[in-house]
């Protein structure tokens, strides 16, 4: 399975990528929403995109909207991974087309649990 990790923090990309790699994902990274669109446009369509909210150039909510506008990317599962913890923000993200929402800070187990809920745990590690 493939994942795209979108976060302006290299440290956070590394953390999320490590967890996903350990679960069996092949991981690509992008530093903002615009870079993520370029990765997607290159044809490397992921099964999952983990998207930070607050990023320069293009924020995560805008990215979610743009991905949802493109029918080619309809089957990409979008999960916000962000410090935005207010209920109103969660509602905005889900209304825009995100499938799941993980609030920072998180543990590897909480990310794994979200993937389990989404049916996106690679079969080798699914419980």
């Amino acid at each position: 399975m493939r994942a795209l990790v979108v976060d302006d923090s290299r440290a956070m990309r590394r953390i999320v990528a490590r967890i996903l790699t350990d679960l069996g994902y092949e991981v690509a990274e992008a530093g903002d929403g615009q870079q993520a669109l370029e990765v997607l446009a290159s044809g490397a369509k992921p099964d999952l995109a983990c998207i930070d909210w607050n990023m320069p150039v293009m924020d995560g909510l805008t990215l979610v909207v743009k991905v949802r506008e493109n029918p080619q990317w309809r089957d990409v599962t979008l999960m916000m991974v962000t410090t935005e913890s207010e209920h109103s923000q969660i509602v905005r993200a889900l209304a825009a087309g995100a499938h799941e929402y993980l609030i920072k800070p998180f543990t590897p187990d909480s990310l794994r649990d979200k993937l389990d809920l989404l049916g996106l745990l690679p079969s080798a590690v699914a419980s």
Binding site: R10, A11, R14, I15, R18, T83, E84, P105
Partner: protein, 166 residues
């Protein structure tokens, strides 16, 4: 007297609870209070993130370079012989203050936006604050022990500045 609800529930207890969670989840570390003697030495590295909207202020983490490197190494689970680049250290500490700031924001009522983290380097004293803290007043200050070195987590408000403008 304002008829608006109190949108500033930020105090040391709240900030400490946020820091506890961030340290445990992000750094795999327990938060220990600083019991060192004498004044805390000026921080060489400061990471700040602003909050703007119904509540205005910022969250700042300050520490020595060595502590910043230790925090980054813990966050990245770097190997003992792995030397992190300065930009990776800054990025990691910036993300820590971003997560602390986001969770502080989550405790506020109203509509407040979180800015992007920025890093200031070079010796500073507690009174010598960057532009982001101009006219700001401290509402919380925690000093933590990171392997024998102090790390400060501070929250400032600019609510008075806002009132003066309005």
């Amino acid at each position: 007297m304002s008829l608006l609800p109190d949108t500033s529930p930020i105090d040391d207890e709240l900030v400490r609870a946020v820091v506890d969670q961030v340290w445990e989840s992000l750094l795999g570390a327990e938060v220990l209070p600083w019991y060192g003697e004498g004044p805390v030495a000026p921080a060489v590295l400061q990471a700040e993130v602003t909050l703007t909207g119904d509540w205005n202020g910022l969250v700042r983490i300050g520490c020595a370079q060595g502590a910043a490197e230790g925090i980054a190494a813990a966050m990245l689970m770097a190997g003992a012989d792995e030397v992190l680049a300065a930009e990776d250290v800054h990025d990691a500490v910036g993300e820590v203050v971003n997560v602390v700031g986001g969770n502080v924001k989550g405790a506020l009522l109203g509509d407040t936006a979180l800015g992007l983290p920025r890093i200031l380097t070079g010796p500073r004293t507690g009174d010598e604050v960057g532009p982001a803290t101009a006219a700001a007043e401290p509402v919380s200050r925690c000093v933590l022990d990171w392997h024998g070195v102090p790390v400060t987590v501070e929250v400032f408000t600019r609510e008075n500045e806002k009132e003066c403008r309005s």
